[in-house]
Every structure is written in structure tokens, then in C-alpha cells.
Amino acid sequence: MIRVEGVTKVYDGGAVALRDVSLDIPKGQFVFLVGASGSGKSTLIRLMLREEEVTRGTIWVAGKDITKLPRWRIPDLRRSVGTVFQDFKLLPNKTVAENIAFALEVLGHPRAVVRSQVAQVIDLVGLSGKEDRYPRQLSGGEQQRVSVARAFVNRPPILLADEPTGNLDPKTSVGIMKLLDRINRTGTTILMATHDHAIVDAMRRRVIALEDGRVSQDIIGGRYEDTMVQPKTQLADAPIEPVEEGADPFEGATEA
């Protein structure tokens, strides 16, 4: 479903975000993308959405080489990939239902179709009865559910999530993960970038670790700690990071 081949990304300023990254995610898989801040997780996701262009290499999404996609076809790519972000990206002046409907209206779906699809997906994410609330009247977890609903409302084959639980407490995070798991069971391929050890450990799915722009680990049914083996040895060279990273295993369960 997603295939990355020898991708290197160098930003304009010369910062190297990804170095010769290759990975293959088959249809229906649930994959965690882990790694320290600045390891290249977000860059990889942005490349898959063509928000950035690769410096070298090729990325196939849903069977298409998206690095060669002409500009005007990019919207098509984004329709086949749902996205969820840490900061929800909801429109504050629209209600729950309107926020979700927006994704379909923008694609030009007829009103009746929009209404029934939105009702369905609101039910799926467990927000029935809150259709007419505004984002500010919802908790963080509920807002993220709206965002997931919006990403999934047109049933894309792929869902990309960039730290979707980053702003949520552990209990709420579990709720979101259950939701993503349910969506994954419908056959949707999910790639989720995260720092959340507890979640990675609990789910026991494939874990791909990025380290300084390279794939350092790729473990099926892995745990977050498994990916830490190599990083720990290298942390000696990086004096700023250890405090944060070293403390993580103990705080993983309560990460805010």
C-alpha cells in the first residue's frame, strides 16, 4: 500500500531529514513510526502527502508513484489518504457535524450523501448526540475523535496519524487507539507516528524506528523498548537528549 524506496530529503537550508529510507507497508497493516524528535517521522509523513518533495528516491502510495504526480493531481492523493494530527486541525467556527461534512463538501458530494455519511461516521467514533457542539465545547479526546471521523468519512484506504495522542492523557489515548484499531480492522492501512511507549507496547504491532533520518529498527509485533537498543548506545554522543530519552521508559505510561 505504501512503498518507500531509497528516499532522501534535504531541506533548503541543508538540513538532512531522511537518508536513504526504504520501507514497505502492505495493505491493512497497522504500523507505528517511532523515533526521537527530529528523527524524520514527520518529514516522512509530509512526503507521503506531497506537502514536501523528495530530494531523491521514490514513494508509492496506493499503487501510484507520488513523487512524479503532477501538481494538479495532488488533491486526488490526499483524498485517498486520511490524516490525523496532534493538534486536531478542526475549524473552530464549525460544529462537529460541519467539520466532518466539510471534508465531503469540499469534494463536491451531494448534500444527502454527506448527511448520511457524516451520521454514520459520528456513530462510529462514538460522538452521537454531540453533532451540534463546537470544538471548544469538547474535551481533547472528543476533538481528536472528530478529527479521526473527518479523516475517515470518505473511507480512504490509508490513514496517516502524526502523534494523534500527543496532546491527550493516557486514558483518553487508549480510547483513540481503540478507535484507530477498529478502523484498521475495516482494512484501512494505518501509519502512526508516536512517542507514546505505552501505546506501542500495548498494541504489539509492527514498529519502525527512525534514528537520525535512517530506519534503525523494523520489528513486527515490537515494543518501544526494542527500538531503543541502538539509540541508547548512540546517545553518548548526544549530550542534550539523554535526560529526556532516558526518563521516558518510566514515564511512558503517564505521558501527557
Binding site: 488533491p75 478542526l90 471534508a103 463538501e105 469540499v106
Partner: protein, 292 residues
């Protein structure tokens, strides 16, 4: 269909959000087009009047008569002489009897004047129609000093002064309109930029969910076009009101009413022009700011 209403609704929402800036842009378009349109109307009024004058007789030569030692034969000779000139189209001889009739019609409501006058006070005249009206000065010059000529009168002078004034005013108005029009386009480009800025979150989400570029752009283009159209509409309205006011003034010698068709034709053209200016402005504002 739902798509079109959606896009329109979007454009209107945009305009509501920045009322002041939108009003500024509309005003700029309005001033520019009102100036250009009224210059055009004024120009047409002058042209119509020039034509009216031109269809009349361009040079009138009042002639001396028997009492001054000039005979009808002399009148005849002068007429033939004038007819030979190439810039002259026709010459009509109005003798004393005919002139007296004319006099009586003109002063029909002043019987006291007619009572004390008779045929002897009105001179015979030659009414000259020119094929090239701008040569009237030459004609005047050639006639001046001829023994039979008493006095030369030509409305050509008035026309000339009117056209001069008109062309100066026209150039001024058109110049102002062009500058103002440029300012209007830039102002619209700015309102569109502000609108994009105000809606950057929404635009980001639209892109995220895969809205096509045109779907994102069209509301902004519509907004600019609407601003241009409203400005042009106001300009047309202002010129129409001005024209109604002018038409109400009764000046015998100048025709201030223009045929309805002329106004309508140009009103439509100006509305179209306003919308296009708005479209260009918003396209300018969109440039670079709305790429995928």
C-alpha cells in the same frame, strides 16, 4: 448545483468578514468607473450637439441691400462665387421677405416688437453649409471685406471652444480613471490576500482533505469579481442619477438627453469591465499564496 451555492455562500462569508476593506475596494472601483463613465457620457453629449449644429447652417452672411447700394444681382453674384468654393456644400439665399417671416415667427410672442418693426429692418442673408466644418475660419476670412457683406456669424466658433474644453476634460478624466482603476485592482488584490489570511486555517484543512485547487480558489475569485461588479453597479447608478438630473435642466441650445440605448450599452460594458478588473485583482492576490 449544491457546489455552486456552496462556493457563492463561501464568497459572501468572506466579504462579511472584512467589511471595511471590501468597502474600500468597492469604493475605488466605483470612483474609477464613475469617472470614466461620466467622461464618456459628456463626450457623447458634446458629439451629439456638434452633430446637431453641423446639420444646421454653419456660416450666416448678412447682406447689405439697396439702401447701401447693393442690388439683388450683387447678392446673386456673391452666392455663385461662394458656391464655387470647394469646402462649401450648399448656399441658401434668404431674401428680405423670407427673413421677415422668420423674424415674425421668432418674435411671435412679442407683438409690441412686431408692431414697431417692418421688413426693412431685417437684412437678406446667405446661409452656408460647409462640407468641411473646420474650415469655417477660411470662409469667414474670404468673405470679410466683400462689398455686399454686412456681417458674418458662425456657430462654428462655439463648437470649437466646446470641443477643446471637452477634450481637455476627457483626457483629465480618463487619466484619473486609469490611475484610480490601477489602484482599485491593487486594493482588490489586497482584500483577497487578507481574506486568504483570515481563512488560512480553513484553507489548510481544505488542502488536507484533498480539495482541488480550483475549489479553494473560486470563492476568492468570486469575491473579487463581486467587489468589481458592485463597484461598477454603483458607478452606473451614479451616472444614471447624474444624467437624470442633467436631463431635467432645460437649455434650448444644448441637447442634454442621450438616447437610452447608448447608456444601456455602456452600462453593461462597464459592469463587465468592473467584474473583469475584480477578477484580475483577485487573481493577482491569489498568485503564489495559494499553491498546493
Amino acid at each position: 448545483m449544491s457546489r455552486i451555492t456552496y462556493l457563492l455562500r463561501d464568497a459572501f462569508q468572506n466579504m462579511r468578514r472584512n467589511v471595511l476593506v471590501v468597502a474600500g475596494a468597492i469604493l475605488a472601483i466605483f470612483i474609477s468607473l464613475a469617472l470614466a463613465f461620466s467622461a464618456l457620457m459628456l463626450n457623447e453629449i458634446v458629439r451629439v450637439n456638434t452633430l446637431l449644429w453641423q446639420e444646421g447652417e454653419h456660416v450666416v452672411v448678412f447682406l447689405k441691400d439697396i439702401e447701401d447700394g447693393i442690388s439683388n444681382a450683387d447678392h446673386q453674384a456673391l452666392q455663385n462665387q461662394i458656391l464655387d468654393w470647394q469646402e462649401v456644400e450648399s448656399v441658401r439665399y434668404v431674401d428680405k421677405a423670407e427673413a421677415w417671416e422668420e423674424f415674425q415667427t421668432i418674435f411671435a410672442d412679442s407683438p409690441s416688437l412686431l408692431d414697431i418693426s417692418d421688413q426693412s429692418i431685417v437684412p437678406a442673408s446667405l446661409r452656408i453649409k460647409l462640407s468641411e466644418i473646420e474650415r469655417y475660419r477660411d470662409i469667414e476670412f474670404r468673405l470679410d471685406g466683400q462689398p455686399a457683406v454686412r456681417k458674418i456669424v458662425s456657430p462654428g466658433e462655439v463648437i470649437e471652444r466646446l470641443s477643446d474644453l471637452n477634450s481637455v476634460l476627457n483626457r483629465l478624466a480618463v487619466g484619473l480613471a486609469v490611475v484610480q482603476g490601477g489602484a482599485a485592482v491593487v486594493l482588490i488584490a489586497n482584500t483577497i490576500r487578507l481574506a486568504i489570511y483570515a481563512r488560512r486555517e480553513e484553507v489548510a484543512v481544505m488542502r488536507l482533505v484533498g480539495a482541488s485547487n480550483w475549489f479553494i480558489r473560486i470563492p476568492f475569485l468570486l469575491e473579487g469579481m463581486l467587489e468589481g461588479l458592485v463597484g461598477a453597479g454603483l458607478a452606473v447608478l451614479a451616472v444614471w442619477v447624474g444624467q437624470q438630473a442633467l436631463g431635467g435642466i432645460d437649455i434650448n441650445i444644448v441637447q442634454l438627453n442621450l438616447p437610452e440605448g447608448f447608456f444601456l450599452r455602456w452600462a453593461v460594458a462597464f459592469m463587465l469591465f468592473g467584474s473583469i478588473a475584480g477578477l484580475v485583482g483577485s487573481a493577482l492576490g491569489l498568485r503564489r499564496y495559494l499553491r498546493v
